[in-house]
Amino acid sequence: MLNVSLCGIELKNPVIAASGTFGFGEEYNNVFDVSKLGGIATKGLTLNKREGNDGLRIYEAESGIMNSVGLQNPGIEEFIKTELPKMKKFNTVIFANLGGGTIEEYLSGIEKLNNSDIDMIELNISCPNVKAGGMAFGIKSNIAYDVVSRVKEIAKKPIMVKLSPNAENIVDMSEKCCKAGADAISLVNTFKAMAIDIYKRKPVFNNTFAGLSGPAIKPIALRMVYEVSRAVDIPVVGMGGITTWQDAIEFIMAGAEAVQVGTANFIKPDICLDIIDGIKSFMVSENIKNLSEIKGTIRGV
C-alpha cells in the first residue's frame, strides 16, 4: 500500500534518504536495513573527485544545521567502480545525485552514468557550496533551462532536477525545467545562510555562506513544494526539514509523489523507518488504500 511510482520506477515506499546525508548507504546499513527505504540519493557526485571545502563544515542553528561540505566525492568513475556495486546489493532504488560547475561537466557526468546500473539521476543544479558558477544554474530559470535541455538530449536515465530554494522564482524555475524535458522535480536543497563568530569577528564558515537544512526550513520548503506541484505535471519529490511522518504526509498532501529525508537522519539514524511506519499507520487509521488518494489534495486559495 505504501508503494509509489516515479517516472515508471517503482518505489516500495515514498521515503528516500536525501543526498549528502546518507553517503552511499553503506554506513547506515550498519545501523538498520537500508533496503527498507524507498530509495537512496547518493552523495552529490561530480565528474572528477573533489576534496570539498576547508574549515568548519557543520554548525548548528536553531532547529537546523548549516553545512559547507562542498561536494566532497570520489568522482563518478570511482563511484561506479567502487560504491555502486555495494549499493546494488541493497534492494532499493538508487538516485545518482549529479552536481557540476559547467554544462560540459554535467554532460560528461551523464554519459558515464548512462551506462551504469543506477535507476535515476537527480540533477543537482543547486549546490550552494560550490563557488565556480555552479550557483547560477539553480538561481536563474533560463540558465537552468539550458542545462536541463542539454542533459535531456543525451540522458538515458530519467532525470529528476533538484531545485534550489534560492531560485529567483521557484515556480518559473520548475516550469522551465519541465519544458526542458525534466522527468521529475525534487526540492528543496539547502538555503543560503550564514553565521558569524562574534568573538573572532569572522564568518563561521571559510566560504562565508553555508546551506541551511532541517526542521527550521520546513514551512518554507512545504510552501515551495505546494507551489511547484501545482505548476508542473511531472512528479515532484519533496524535502526540507522532514523529521516526522506527519511532516511527510504534509508534503504528500501538498503534492509530492515521494519525500526525501536528510538532516533528520542525524537526529536519529533510523528515523526513516519511523517515518515509513508512521505513514503506514496513518493510512490504516484514515482508511487510505494508496497514497495517490491524498497526494496533492490540498487546494488552497
Binding site: N67, V69, I267, P269
Partner: protein, 245 residues
C-alpha cells in the same frame, strides 16, 4: 548491526572537578579505548548528538568524562540518575593498546577523558602520563595504579610545572606516544617526536553530524587525503595529520 542507537538509563552524573562531569550509563557494549558515542539528552532543543569518548567500561556500565562547553554539554550536566538518554555507537577506530615497551600518554585538559580506559587497556606497556591542565587537576589520582610516573603541568602553576605540558615532555624515551588534547599541543608533540622518530597517535576532534562516516562533515586532512574523523579516526598517526597532510 554494528552501531546501536539506544535509550539507556543514567546511573550517575556528577561534577568531579570544576565544570568537569562524569556520566555513567547502563550499557554493556564492548567499546574499545579511544572510541566514542554520540550522546543526546534532549528532544528537539538541539538537533545533533554530541561526540564524547568512552572514559571507562566496567560491569555493564559505560562512563564518560566531559567538560561543559556549550549548550549540549550544559544540558547533559543537568540530567539526573534514572533519566534516559540516547546513545549511538560505539564509533570510530580507537587506540591500538596491544603494545609493549615504554608508552607516553600526553593529554591537554579534557583530552585526558579517553585515556583512563586506554591506559587500563595498555596492560603490557610501561606508561608515563604527561597531563596538562588550565588550572584544576583531575583524574591523575585514579590513574596512579596503572602508570609508572605522572607529570603534570598547569597554566598557572597551581600544581606541577607552570606552563605547558610540552615544556616537560621528553620524546626520546618512548617507543610510542598517545596524545589527546588541543590541536596546537598535539602538533607540537608530533613535531617533537618526529625528531626522535618516535611514533605518535593523536585523537582528533571535529564537529560531527552522522557519526558513522556518511555525511563528510568531520573531515580531517591527512597524508592519504581527506579522512573522516568519526569513522577512519578519531585516532590517526600524528605525522599523517600534522606533518605530511
Amino acid at each position: 548491526m554494528q552501531y546501536k542507537y539506544e535509550r539507556v538509563k543514567i546511573q550517575s552524573n556528577a561534577e568531579v572537578a570544576n565544570n568537569i562531569y562524569k556520566l555513567v550509563i547502563e550499557c554493556n557494549h564492548e567499546a574499545k579505548p579511544g572510541q566514542f558515542y554520540m550522546l543526546r539528552g534532549w528532544d528537539n532543543e538541539l538537533l545533533l548528538g554530541r561526540p564524547i569518548s568512552v572514559h571507562d567500561v566496567q560491569d555493564g556500565l559505560t562512563s564518560f568524562l566531559y567538560e561543559v562547553r556549550g549548550k549540549g554539554t550544559k544540558i547533559l550536566s543537568t540530567l539526573e540518575t534514572g533519566y534516559r538518554i540516547e546513545i549511538f555507537g560505539p564509533h570510530g577506530k580507537g587506540f591500538n593498546t596491544n603494545v609493549k615497551g615504554k608508552v607516553a600518554v600526553v593529554t591537554g585538559g579534557i583530552g585526558i577523558a579517553p585515556m583512563y580506559y586506554t591506559i587500563k587497556a595498555l596492560k603490557n606497556a610501561q606508561i608515563d602520563l604527561f597531563a596538562g591542565f588550565r588550572d584544576e587537576v583531575y583524574l591523575i589520582d585514579d590513574l596512579k595504579d596503572f602508570i609508572s610516573s605522572s607529570y603534570v603541568a598547569t597554566n598557572n602553576g597551581r600544581i606541577g610545572h607552570k606552563g605547558f605540558i610540552t615544556d616537560i615532555f621528553n620524546p626520546w624515551e618512548y617507543n610510542l606516544v598517545l596524545c589527546c588534547g588541543p590541536e596546537i599541543m598535539m602538533e607540537k608533540i608530533v613535531r617533537m617526536c618526529r625528531d626522535y622518530k618516535t611514533p605518535v597517535y593523536v585523537s582528533m576532534e571535529r564537529h560531527m553530524a552522522c557519526g558513522i562516516g556518511a555525511c563528510l562533515v568531520c573531515t580531517c586532512k591527512t597524508k592519504d587525503g581527506n579522512k573522516r574523523v568519526c569513522k577512519d579516526g578519531p585516532v590517526f598517526s600524528g605525522e599523517d595529520v600534522f606533518l605530511d597532510a
